[in-house]
Symmetry: C2
Subunit: 581 residues, 2 copies
């Protein structure tokens, strides 16, 4: 049976030794977030997650959620574990103290998020979207809306949803048809159907706050005519107590490939009472506050699943007796193809952890640093890294789950081992909050061009500085990394220029470009990793160096091919008629 | 809902125009297998498969197999469809006419196999292993054994199994413990447990013939002490009628990631009556007759699933309205990232089809050609291509299923569309009949070294001849192909020589090497494909050329990276202690 042990040693290494997270204490809000406090939070959270949340993962998959007459039962144990986690104050870790949060750095709440995702990713969905809903109301809601909803969302007493998708409006958000009809009391009657609504209905929390994309009367067509509304399951009385049931309900739930512990609802809004959040027709901007955070959250889901797959594969390989390796051992961990697989998994997971934590640290800087220039730079990094983090870590979740199954052999295919569940759970992460194809477009068609190409240039400046400053004895890593950086730079230029010719070229090259970028970025992360263990000769440091070398020799070489593919152009196959495919 | 339409146009194109299958008519046994007959078989089979077998695929996944008291119920409709297919004479298409078969080329029976796999891969398992069991008894059984079992296996009135795996003996076949105790009547009492036995119990056929690996008393340890036995579910009387129930039964069935329509049994042999097949302690060789055929079969499962994923993704993309493409269309097939995905899927599926059919044609030549030199060469190709065919096409099944889900977006994750099922079904193909890691070892550690490296040299000679003979206007394909061939040759030499240094190097590089080899081989297949449509300007030919160009620009560049990875050596990470991972 798959089990989860929080990788606290690596977590604290990345936070402290690579990302120097104590720099955040220079920001007044985070003055208390000393290394001791950080370590305490990580270790305490690890304990409750390992003991209370991880054990529910497999049963949650087996039993799933049950729907009857508009009500949903979550899997056994979920309600109790959620209550325990929520009452422990783990949900609003990074939220405003004035609204029931703990005021700690965002990065710390995401570290806890990674652990929850590794332990039980379906369970995490009840928490993650609640946080995103909180942020969306905090960003654009009225004071009254904040007072009414945000305290309870921060503490997790209520949960949140994101109601965007309709059958005809998936990636094409502008096709949303749900209507918001103004009422005399200043509220709106929301009419329409939404699909794929995560946590749309359940009995884990006292109330569910829906953040809904809908269209005002006479609004312009497309995305410019969308507005956002807050629609509670139960109306909230002025004293904060719960009032009558609103006219929004789940009409069915989906059977899915995985994530069975998370309920996915088709919702009917039948004149449900809602309130406009922010300005009319600014819905897409408002929704993107939530969406950008959701994309970061989903990347952490990918990371958590990478960790789960990797640690289980390593543990299994260390114990499974089969055949005889060249060194005489009968354990499969000593077979070279198995060992290669495990090293690959480690290289992606640990390098990916640096990426995920760094984007989170940048979000803290972008939001709270006193210096505008620092905030601007940090925001550039957040913008640049979001699509890479989301797409690469979720693709990696699927790939590493598949690798873990291979390490288990036929046993990996059998449900009771809990390994195939990782692959089934992981796949949704490549789809929701913008498919990974959409992420690639976001990178190639938006992020490369913003501010005259300033975003990717920040990366090239940083990595080139690191390469120039690196010790000569790191040539085994610097060489392949510099080569990858050169290819990536040329490809970046090519894509930026391609808009002068055929815009399909960038779209057709985007996915390969994103992957090439991600691998180069991880090369940079591995450089900083080996620098952070310089001079150490313990097992941890030795493993880091061996994994960095593996990355240099067996993952960086992919970059050149990816860049060639990204620059291949598209005319030949775009000009083919769809009927001829 | 996923649907299946047999790709008969491409099937006949590959058979006739690329592989010149009519050359087989020069073999007396196949004199009647004219292009007309071949086309008739393909089209008739397509009809029955589309109409009778494909519609059971999704329900079979949903409902699965049920076990109670040693008995197994297969999903609704399976018994009837199997009977119809079996009575139509489709199962023993390539078997000996003297034993109830049709005597047609093996390649033709595999073409039908591909279609069954595309329509319903779980259903195919009942057929495929039956065929392999037939061949194993034909190869090493006594005349009496052949008479007793092979007629009924060829017609499919009885089905077959392959009983190898035990909990401690998966990839390490030599660890098998099941015992065979000689009895006074010349039979053996088989004692022991087997796991993961496909089709081990069901009521689709009147009898089930188990081909069992077990150990005679006082046999040497390891693989050299294994023997094979035929163990029928019902003993067969001298007149061919069924006698008493043998002491072999299913004690449980597995819950699996997918392949729910196929039953996977834990079998108990409790003194079951069995008969030695072939000589004592030659079991591993006998089992490999079956295993090699099973590997070819499994590659076809991968191919069938590639086709299923590809055609559904294309059809969905042609109809799904979402956003606006640069050419003004609102269909996602015109979006460059979607189009790129579809082209990738086509390039792998159609190039893979040439590989799969060619190995099958070579098997016909190796078995039946009058000229020994032709047989020898054909056998070399079969040996070389088997691990590539098995591993690459099954890895591709998983990858293309994942791509199809991406094309469907969130809908791809929902069970009712039947797309996520493809990914779940596909994964087992990477595991059974030798994991894909074992296939890579077979290629790098056995096939490259056999006959002083003659096997890979045959490929290099063939592809270099094709490159030299190609028209200059194919430079867009010849250039990238020649580059890939050069890298692959250098890597082949490196791996062959690596055994003089560290044998772990070949093992650690094997998987990347296999993939690099497969892509180069598909490049060769795409060269022959465009040559076969030279001068044509219809939609089919245009699509072939565009897909070949896509392959040259966006898949062949992967070869160089793979080859670098394969040559990277292993000492750094093999020397790391397992505890430090």
């Amino acid at each position: 049976m798959a089990s989860y042990k929080a990788p606290t040693q690596d977590i604290l290494f990345v936070l402290n030794d690579i990302l120097k997270i104590d720099e955040l204490t220079a920001i007044e809000r985070f003055a208390d977030a000393s290394p001791d406090i950080v370590a305490g939070v990580v270790e305490e959270a690890a304990k409750v997650i390992e003991e209370e949340i991880a054990p529910l993962n497999h049963k949650g998959d087996e039993i799933g959620c049950k729907y009857a007459d508009g009500e949903v039962d979550v899997p056994p144990g979920y309600v109790e574990a959620y209550k325990l986690f929520q009452e422990g104050g783990w949900i609003g870790l990074a939220n405003e103290p004035d609204f029931g949060g703990q005021g700690l750095p965002f990065v710390l709440s995401k570290v806890v998020g990674e652990m929850v995702c590794g332990a039980n990713v379906a369970f995490e969905l009840y928490i993650g979207l609640t946080q995103d809903c909180y942020e969306a109301i905090m960003a654009n809601g009225s004071d009254e809306q904040k007072q009414t909803y945000c305290h309870k969302l921060a503490t997790g007493e209520w949960t949140g949803t994101m109601c965007m998708t309709e059958p005809q409006a998936g990636s094409d958000v502008g096709a949303v048809k749900a209507k918001a009809i103004p009422q005399e009391d200043g509220s709106y009657a929301i009419e329409g159907g939404k699909i794929f609504i995560t946590s749309g209905e359940h009995r884990m929390a006292d109330n569910i706050i829906h953040f809904v994309l809908a269209r005002l009367p006479d609004s312009p067509p497309g995305v410019k005519g969308l507005s956002t509304f807050v629609v509670p399951k139960y109306l909230v009385n002025e004293d904060g107590s719960l009032g009558e049931r609103n006219a929004v309900k789940a009409v069915s739930i989906e059977e899915k490939m995985g994530m069975h512990g998370s309920v996915t609802c088709t919702m009917a809004f039948d004149g449900a009472k809602g309130w406009l959040v922010g300005k009319p027709n600014q819905g897409i901007q408002n929704m993107f506050v939530m969406m950008n955070l959701a994309r970061i959250m989903v990347g952490f889901q990918g990371l958590g699943l990478c960790e789960l797959a990797t640690q289980n594969a390593i543990n299994y390989a260390r114990e499974r007796v089969q055949g005889k390796a060249y060194n005489g051992s009968n354990l499969i961990v000593e077979h070279p193809d198995v060992r290669r697989t495990l090293m690959h998994m480690k290289a992606i997971t640990e390098g990916g952890r640096v990426l995920a934590y760094e984007i989170s640290k940048y979000l803290d800087l972008a939001t709270h640093h006193a210096d505008e220039a620092v905030r601007e730079e940090a925001q550039d990094w957040v913008e640049l890294l979001t699509p890479i983090h989301k797409a690469f870590l979720t693709d990696s979740g699927v790939e590493l789950a598949s690798m873990a199954i291979q390490v288990y052999g036929g046993h990996g295919y059998i449900s009771e081992h809990g390994i195939e569940q990782i692959a089934r759970d992981a796949k949704i992460c490549c789809l929701y909050e913008g498919t990974n194809g959409i992420q690639a477009m976001d990178l190639a068609r938006r992020k490369l061009l913003m501010h005259n190409g300033r975003l990717p240039q920040r990366f090239f400046d940083a990595v080139n500085t690191a390469i120039e400053g690196a010790d000569a004895d790191l040539a085994w890593l610097i060489g392949p990394l510099a080569k990858a950086v050169g290819e990536l730079k040329a490809t970046t230029d090519w894509i930026q220029n391609s808009f002068n010719n055929d815009p399909n070229d960038a779209g057709a090259g985007a996915a390969d470009y994103l992957r090439g970028f991600a691998l180069t970025l991880l090369g940079y992360n591995w450089l900083r990793t080996v620098q952070a263990v310089a001079g150490r000769d313990d097992d941890f440091a030795r493993a880091k160096r061996a994994t960095a070398k593996f990355f240099a020799q067996r993952l960086l070489p992919e970059v050149q091919g990816r860049c060639e593919m990204a620059r291949a152009g598209s005319e030949d196959f775009m000009s083919l008629s769809a009927a001829a495919l």
